[in-house]
């Protein structure tokens, strides 16, 4: 199996650095899969599950928030503000922030607060989906 170098970077650390066979990320247009030898490519990613396969058979899933994926010179870089492996997600915390966001959405606040709450809800739902507890 051909592998490529994968880096996942957040502001507080380099979350992942190593060889991978494939990743699947979600852009505004939908899911895209990246394999070794991909053409140079840059796209924004939306809060979604990110699937990483290190050997082609098993895969790990992480929840990523908004960011960008970049393929250049055979190196794939995912830059995002937050990322968590599925098994590390604090389900009760995600559940709580989902409830809070839903309450705020129901409160019919101003436009701005509505959009903030919506974004929080999306993030919380994404984490819950990835953790498989939803």
């Amino acid at each position: 199996m051909n592998t490529f170098k994968l880096r996942i970077i957040t502001p507080d650390k380099v979350f992942y650095e190593g060889e991978a066979v494939s990743i699947i990320v979600k852009t505004a247009a939908g899911n895209i899969g990246i394999l070794a030898g991909h053409t140079p490519y840059v796209a924004n990613i939306v809060p979604s599950p990110l699937t990483v396969s290190e050997n082609g058979t098993d895969s790990r899933v992480a929840a990523v928030s908004a960011g960008v994926v970049k393929v250049e010179n055979g190196v794939v870089t995912v830059v995002t503000t937050a990322v968590e492996w599925a098994e590390d997600i604090d389900v009760s915390r995600a559940e709580r922030s989902r409830e809070r966001a839903e309450r705020e959405l129901a409160a019919q606040a101003s436009d701005k607060e509505f959009r903030h709450a919506e974004q929080r809800l999306k993030r919380a739902l994404n984490r819950l989906t990835v953790s498989g507890k939803h």
């Binding site: 957040t10 502001p11 505004a28 830059v79 503000t81």
Partner: protein
Amino acid sequence: MSTANMKDVKRRIKSVESTMQITKAMQLVASSKLRRAKERALAAQPFFAALYDTMSDISNDPAFTSIYTKKKVLRSTLFVVIAGDRGLAGGFNSNVLKLAAQKITELTDKKEKVSVICVGRKSVEFCEKRGFDIVARYPQVAESLSIVDAEDIADEIIEQFRCGYYDQVDMIYTTFVSALSQVPVAVEVLPVKDISTGLRHRSLIEYDPSPEEVFDGLIPQYLTGLIYAAVVDSFASEQAARRTAMENASDNAEEMIENLSLLYNRARQAMITQELTEISSASLRDE
């Protein structure tokens, strides 16, 4: 010197000693916090470099334009003023706030609209007292700023900028130069400066859906990173300033104790000498 006076000196020595214990402790705490803050600042580097690379790649494209890079006629400015939550850090807070006040009055004198986003308790207090127009307050975040907090601040800024309320966004914070030197700086955040490398060429990279969209989509992350880095930088500076201030305070306390002990010992010596003279003169008279 009388006995009462000696007691006073003794009491002062005690009080200075206990103050010194506190300043020593604060110095140690600041040192360890500084080390952690420096690690955090270092950890944010790769994120920033990766974003910056992508953005400068995109701006190398000759056809590229974005609302975030267009220079506009300056009529209104939004300042993000980042200071600490606590005092006792030497000139740290007053230096950065002085720079902020200077920049803001410069613009208000020209009859321009100026608003502020305050980060850190000292910044909030200062801007409230000065009566600046405050858009948002973020007190008590300096030490434990999470990415989500930084994202909130970035969202707020982007929204105000996109709606056209402000033509420019500046950030004022203290940057960590070395353990002995921290400098307050004002940096232009939006519109994004031209960061192309000068080599204008059409890149072979495929942007999905288009370079402009990718660039605009990156702005929230870029700002989040910028704010996060600035707050971490400011926090490191605060700890370094506090450590230096507390080190000086401890040194001063030590010197004071030395002087007071000298005074006390002299007085004690004088009293013993006096007593001895009294005894010997009394015995001389008895003979």
